[in-house]
C-alpha cells in the first residue's frame, strides 16, 4: 500500500517558485487498480516521479507498506517493490532487450522467460529479444518493451505513466489484459495508471482526478467516471475547434 500525505512539489522557475503538486494526499491500497486522470499539465507525471523517487517532495511524506520512504533513493524504492514505466522510454546503445529484462527481473532469466514478457505486450519475442534498445526501434515498440520491463519487475506497486501513448492499435484490449494479468499473478500488488483512455478508466477500481496540482475528485469508478465527460480535456478541445470553425464560416 502506498500513501501520500500532504505532498507538495515546487520548482524554481526563473526566480519565481512554481508549485506543480499542491498538498496532495492519496492512498493506493493493495490489490487495487487506481487510474489518475485530469488535464495535461495538471501534475500527474510529477506525481508518478515523486512515487518513483526521481523527484523529491518539497513538503509532505510518502509511505510504502507502512514505511516512510520520503528520503529513500530511486534504487532503494525499486528494491522495495516500486516499478515505474516511463511515459517516454529511454534508448540505450548496445543494451539489448533481453539485457533490460534481466536487469528488471533482477536475475538471469532464460530466453524463454524473457520471451514470455515480450509476448504479453504483443511483440513477437524471437524478433526482439536480441535487438538493441536503440534508435532502430519505433516509439510504439519501445513503449511495449518499457511495459515488458515493468512486468518483469513483478513489483508490489507498478506505476504506468500514460502507457497507451504512442501505442498503435495492438490496442488497449491487450494493454488491459496486461493489467488484469498483473492483478491476478502478482500477489497483493497494486497498479497506478496515469491515463486519459476511456477503456483504462473503465477497469479502474478507483479514479483520481488531478487538476492544477490538486486532487479534484477521488472515489470509486462508479462515482467518478460518469462525471468525467464534461471535465476532460477532449470536450474542451472540441469546443475550441467548433468555435474556430464557426468563426471561419461567419467570415
Amino acid at each position: 500500500m502506498l500513501e501520500m500525505r500532504n505532498v507538495s512539489f515546487q520548482v524554481d522557475a526563473e526566480g519565481t517558485e512554481k508549485e506543480i503538486v499542491r498538498d496532495i494526499s492519496l492512498t493506493v491500497p493493495d490489490r487495487k487498480l487506481i487510474v489518475v486522470t485530469g488535464p495535461n499539465g495538471g501534475g500527474k507525471s510529477t506525481l508518478a516521479r515523486l512515487i518513483a523517487g526521481i523527484e523529491k517532495p518539497t513538503g509532505g511524506k510518502i509511505f510504502f507498506g507502512g514505511e516512510d520512504i520520503t528520503e529513500k533513493s530511486v534504487t532503494e524504492r525499486a528494491r522495495m517493490g516500486i516499478a515505474y514505466a516511463f511515459q517516454q522510454p529511454v534508448r540505450f546503445k548496445g543494451i539489448r532487450v533481453v539485457d533490460l529484462i534481466r536487469i528488471a527481473a533482477g536475475k538471469n532469466v532464460t530466453a524463454g522467460e524473457a520471451c514470455g514478457y515480450l509476448s504479453a505486450v504483443g511483440l513477437c519475442a524471437r524478433d526482439y529479444v536480441d535487438r538493441e534498445v536503440n534508435a532502430s526501434l519505433s516509439g510504439g515498440e519501445l513503449k511495449r518493451i518499457e511495459i515488458a520491463t515493468v512486468l518483469a519487475r513483478n513489483a508490489k506497486l507498478s506505476v504506468f505513466d500514460e502507457p497507451e501513448a504512442g501505442i498503435d492499435l495492438w490496442s488497449f484490449r491487450n494493454l488491459i489484459d496486461v493489467f488484469k494479468n498483473m492483478r491476478e499473478t502478482i500477489e497483493d500488488s497494486s497498479i497506478l495508471v496515469i491515463s486519459h483512455q476511456e477503456r483504462i478508466l473503465n477497469i479502474a477500481d478507483e479514479i483520481i482526478v488531478i487538476r492544477d496540482g490538486r486532487v479534484e475528485k477521488q472515489g470509486s469508478r462508479d462515482e467518478i467516471y460518469p462525471s468525467l465527460g464534461a471535465d476532460s480535456a477532449e470536450p474542451e478541445a472540441c469546443d475550441v475547434l467548433i468555435k474556430s470553425v464557426q468563426k471561419g464560416s461567419d467570415a
Binding site: 518513483a52 526521481i54 533513493s73 530511486v74 534504487t75 525499486a78 528494491r79 516499478a83 515505474y84 516511463f86 522510454p89 529511454v90 540505450f92 546503445k93 548496445g94 543494451i95 539489448r96 539485457d99 533490460l100 536487469i103 528488471a104 533482477g106 538493441e132 520491463t149 519487475r153
Partner: protein, 305 residues
C-alpha cells in the same frame, strides 16, 4: 607458459589451450609454439623479427591465431608480421597483445601488420589489447596496420582495447581496389592517466569500393583520446566514419573526422558525437533496482559491446 601468460592469452585471444588451426604464440619475444596447416604456412622472417603468414588461394573456414604475451618488465620489441591472403580465401585471423608489467621499467610491443588481401578473399581480423600488473613501468602498444585490398575482397577488422594499456598510438592505413569493402569496428576505453591515439587513412581507389570505420570509446578519469579518421575517395565509392564517445570524470576526447573527395561520384559521410552518459539512462536503470554505479557499468558495457 606460466599462469600469468595463460591469463593474458585468455584475455587477448579467448584461448584456454592451443587453438585449432594454424597458430604462433609469442611469449617474451620467444616463440612458445607454432603450427602451420596444409593451407596456412607460418614462417619466421629472416631479416627482422616477425612472421610471414601465407594463406593458400581458396582456403575456407580456417583460422590463424598469433597472440603475443609479455610478462617481463622493460622489454621493448618491434615485430613485423605480413599476411598474404590468397584469392577467394575465407579466413579468421586473431591477433592481440597482452602485457603484464609488475616492474618499474616500461614494456613496449610495436606490431606492424601488413595484409595483402587477394581478389574476392574474405578476412575477419580480431585484435585485442590488454594490460595488467601494478608496476610503475608503463604498458605501451603502438600497432601499425596496413591493408592492401584487391578487387572485390572484404576485410572486417575488430579492434578492442578495454583495459590496462597506458599508452597507445594506433596507425591504420588501407588502400582499396574496385569492389573491395573494409569494415572497421574499434572499441576503446581509457582510464587513469592513459593516452590513446588512433589514426586511420583509408584510400578508396577503385570503382564501388567502400569503407565503414566506426569507433566507440569511453574516456574516464584523466585519460585522453584522439580519433583521427580520414577517408579519401578517388573513384565512385562510399565511405563512412563515425566516432561515438562517452566522456566521464576529467577525460578528454578529440575527434577529427576527415573526408576528401577526389572524384565527383565519391559519396562520403562522417559522424562524431561526444557526450556524458544521459541522466535519464541512469535513472531508468535505477528504477529497475540498480545503484548509480551499477547502472553506469551496464551502460558502458553495452556501449562497448
Amino acid at each position: 607458459m606460466d599462469e600469468i601468460q595463460k591469463r593474458l592469452l585468455l584475455e587477448v585471444a579467448d584461448l584456454h589451450e592451443v587453438p585449432e588451426g594454424a597458430y604462433n604464440i609469442r611469449a617474451n619475444s620467444q616463440s612458445a609454439g607454432r603450427r602451420s596447416t596444409a593451407n596456412i604456412e607460418i614462417t619466421s622472417k629472416e631479416d627482422v623479427s616477425g612472421l610471414e603468414i601465407r594463406i593458400a588461394p581458396g582456403t575456407k573456414n580456417e583460422s590463424v591465431h598469433i597472440p603475443v604475451v609479455m610478462t617481463e618488465s622493460g622489454l621493448k620489441e618491434v615485430v613485423y608480421n605480413d599476411f598474404f591472403i590468397g584469392a577467394d580465401a575465407d579466413v579468421v585471423i586473431v591477433a592481440g597483445c597482452g602485457i603484464d608489467n609488475c616492474g618499474n621499467q616500461d614494456s613496449e610491443h610495436d606490431g606492424i601488420h601488413r595484409f595483402y588481401v587477394g581478389p574476392r578473399a574474405k578476412v575477419r581480423y580480431v585484435e585485442k589489447h590488454y594490460g595488467s600488473g601494478d608496476g610503475r613501468g608503463k604498458r605501451i602498444l603502438n600497432p601499425r596496420t596496413e591493408v592492401y585490398m584487391e578487387e572485390d575482397s572484404t576485410m572486417e577488422m575488430e579492434m578492442v582495447q578495454i583495459k590496462g594499456v597506458d599508452d597507445t598510438e594506433r596507425d591504420t592505413v588501407a588502400e582499396l581496389a574496385g569492389g573491395a569493402r573494409l569494415v572497421v569496428r574499434e572499441r576503446l576505453m581509457t582510464h587513469g592517466e592513459q593516452r590513446a591515439i588512433s589514426t586511420y587513412n583509408v584510400e578508396l581507389n577503385g570503382k564501388d569500393s567502400s569503407a565503414d570505420v566506426v569507433s566507440r570509446s569511453v574516456a574516464r578519469d584523466r585519460s585522453f583520446q584522439k580519433f583521427d579518421a580520414k577517408i579519401i575517395g578517388k573513384a565512385p565509392c562510399n565511405g563512412h566514419t563515425e566516432c561515438d564517445s562517452i566522456i566521464m570524470d576529467e577525460g578528454r576526447i578529440l575527434a577529427v573526422p576527415g573526408l576528401e573527395a577526389d572524384h565527383v561520384d565519391a559519396t562520403l559521410f562522417h559522424e562524431a558525437a561526444i557526450g556524458k552518459i544521459a541522466g535519464e539512462q541512469l535513472t531508468k536503470l535505477m528504477t529497475l533496482g540498480l545503484t548509480e554505479a551499477e547502472a553506469e557499468e551496464q551502460i558502458i558495457n553495452g556501449f562497448l559491446r
